[in-house]
Amino acid sequence: MDKPLTAEELDLIRRLQEGENPDAGYDPYEPTVEWFTGKGKEEIMPLSAAPEPKRRWVPSKWEKQKVMKIVRAIRQGRIVPNKPKTASDKPQFYNVWGEEPANQPPPPPAPKPRLPTHAESYNPPEEYLPTEEEKKQWEETEKEDREREFLPQKYSALRLVPAYNQFIQERFQRQLDLYLAPRVTRTKLQIDPNSLIPKLPSPSSLKPFPVYKSLEVAHDKGRTRSVSISPDGTWAASGDENGVVNMWEVVVGKVVKSWKFKGKVGAVEWCPRTDVCFLVVATEEQLHFLIPPNLPTSILVATQAVLAPSQLPPAPATPSPVKWQSTSAAASTSDSAILIISLPSNSGLPRQVAWHRRGDYLATVASGEGQGGVWIHQISRRHSQAPFKKVKGTVQSVLFHPTKPHFFVATQRYVRIYNLAEQKLLKTLQPGIRWISSMDVHPLGDHLIVGGYDRKLCWFDLELSDKPYKILRYHSRAIRSLHFHPTYPLFASSSDDGSIQVFHARVYNDLMTDPLIVPLKILRGHQVREGLGVLQIKWVPKQSWLVSAGADGQVAVWCS
């Protein structure tokens, strides 16, 4: 509903718009009312009754002296009254920005004072106001111990705020801050984070390496602890904890022969020799030597001659606790072991069988008591010996050096290298692993990888140092098995997290060039059963294929 404005209101609005006094009756130009001075307000009474002094009308002598001094100077020409202006008298300008910039960085800016918060407001919200107890506590604490140097106070209006009594102190503190501010400029590092990543070749340029699971061979019951590939790469043998050893084709995955043993199978290894063909199966306190079926006659005869010679070599002078029993060559079949080596009782299950490259010696590591459980067996002399009288710590793994007469022994914390020919300790490697699980030596023999239950993988350059050249920590659970490929520059590690990791490891003959280690591929596919993942991995000789045995009873072939 419209309400018409009255004339007074319109006039008021007009005045406000024009910035005039809104009161129409206000006259800004009222005539001055003379209250104290002006006409008719002259003072009649002097303020002082003292008589006028003489100096008020006598000319000043001192002034005259001053003037006369100037006059004399003018006369003598010391002062030129209208001195002509010279160029130097002109105001001199210069280009402020024309100078070369200083070499040193500009002085650092003063530290900025802290910005006020809500609590420092003259009218802070209620929640910022201290309670009585807080106030009391603030007053009781020492000045330097106080959290803040003021108490928030509430004023309803800004004009009620009194003068700030801490002003001087605060200014002083501020000057102190400026004075004590460190005059150091902190230079920021201009580093591209990508440039810190080592330059590694792309995995696709390092083919071939295994990338997918081609086939699986299942063991019905029990974990498959061990797998081994024949030296020609045609056959694989896998043993499980149920005592079953299967021999199968690597390419097809068809089990062609199966053996059953009492107790667990701890290790399966093919003999690396090519002129004979047999495999060793380690069960509780026994090593079984098996001849696979369908061998050519020449190889079969040679194998039988090696394992069950018609003329036994002379027995050693001191009786050994290790018994060698062989079936005669004629009576032997591929169904049962042709040779059985019985380790001394209480020696437990051999966890590892390590062949020497020539295939005459093999070393076994058992979990049992005495001598660290390490035995070295020589096939040609049918003789076993324990190389160590006593070993500090339990032996985890042993290895023969591929070219020299050296022997690697991994105890729980250290790897010791012995010279078997001279019978002395050469070197002790300190991987810094809490519990070593496995190790493997590079086929050239100068590099060693050691894996531990604490997920670490150490690469040792044996020529370089006792300390690892590189420590890789890529697995999320304990490392179980490591293996170098005999011909390709590859190695792989398997772990309890169910994964296998494949690395490219190129070793140069040049001593100055560091080995090149490139992670290539993580192979997943094994199930983790009861905290155990992939228990052993082996490369297929001559191919870039990997065979892995898992705790889920599966043995898988990974093809490139």
Partner: protein
Amino acid sequence: MASTSSSEVSHPVVFSTQTQYPLPTQKFMIPASWRRYQLSQLVNKALSLTKPVPFDFLVRGEILRTTLGEWCAEHGVEEEETLEIEYIESVMPPQRMTSLPHEDWVSSISCQESGLFLTASYDGNVRLFDYSQTLLQTVPVHSAAITSATYVKKNGENTRLVATASHDLTARLAEISVSPVDPSPSRVVASLHLHTGPLTGISANTSGSQLLTSSADGLIGLWDTSIPKSDEVPLDDAPSERKKRRKLDEGQEARPKRKAPVAVLKSHTARVSKALFTRDGKSAVSAGFDSTVRTWDVENGVCTSTITAAAKPFVDIALPHSGNTVLAASTDRTVSQYDLRAAESSAVTAAITSLPHPATPSCIAVPSAGSSEHQLVTGAYDGVVRLWDLRSAKSAVTSFKVWDARPASGRKILSVDWAPGVVGIGGEGGVEVWRVGEGDRLPAQTS
């Protein structure tokens, strides 16, 4: 339809074909929303075929599975660009016909003899089935696993000479009676002694006069199929009583004659997976784990040319009928086609076509002569048989799973064979037979 097509985008298309149904060279304006079905109808109408023939369409080497517009959008083809579309007779969906149960794995199947399936199993037996699933013969040829079996030739009306290769380091020739009414006893007539590693394959030439064996020891043996009167290879000195006993048993019946090879082809440095005769029988092609495909002059026994691939261990090869190319399956999950004429001995040869598989392809079969020479069938370890057209290398034309009831890891296919209309698949689950290919149109094509 007419109201929408006026506003619709259309593509200029030129059709070409190598089938017996050519269209005149002419530009067609095809609506972008058309699929294979409409295109196939168009071709049928344009040719006014009395009996409708379904076609598949290859656009730039890829089978059209979406609408034409979607294909163009995916490949960034402009509207005005003229598309060349090749059409091929489409393959009927494969149908499962029968399954022939086996106790052990089947390593080899052959359906080259019409009406019969020859299977070789890891239990050492060769079995013969007819099309009504009846087991005609079970011949225990080997005591160890058989890896390959093939027909060699007809020995009379009712007997066939069959060659088998086995893990026991021998190949054998067996006479098998195929007559269901009068099954005369089958017998092993000769055993072929050369290899020192398990045999991987055996193949015969078309006339059945020569055989090729391949082995894991890297040798290829060339044999004739005549049966010698006496042993050509002396008996190996019996190392154990077991062998002696076996030989005595064999000696009571007609013991197979021991044959020696005509020639040994040596060049492969690793396991040889397969050796095949070419159609004319004068040369042979072999492939092995040393990533080479070698061509051999059979008469002189020399390697004439070598195709070297990069890190491709070959597990099987097949020779298409055109004769100039070879198909090779390798464990890097590809089946590659190589040109035999482009073989160089040193440099790495690139494949013409590469067919990617999700699992290891283990076997290849090409159709018999006269049918489409661009097609092939591959079996893989994932239990899937795929039918490929070499002009469309990106994905298989069709595929089917065998042994559905078995677990995924236990469905490996080890052998496929393709006779007209029938594909036999042998592997871990026994044998399955599927109807694949032309099916109903088969009589029309032969006429």
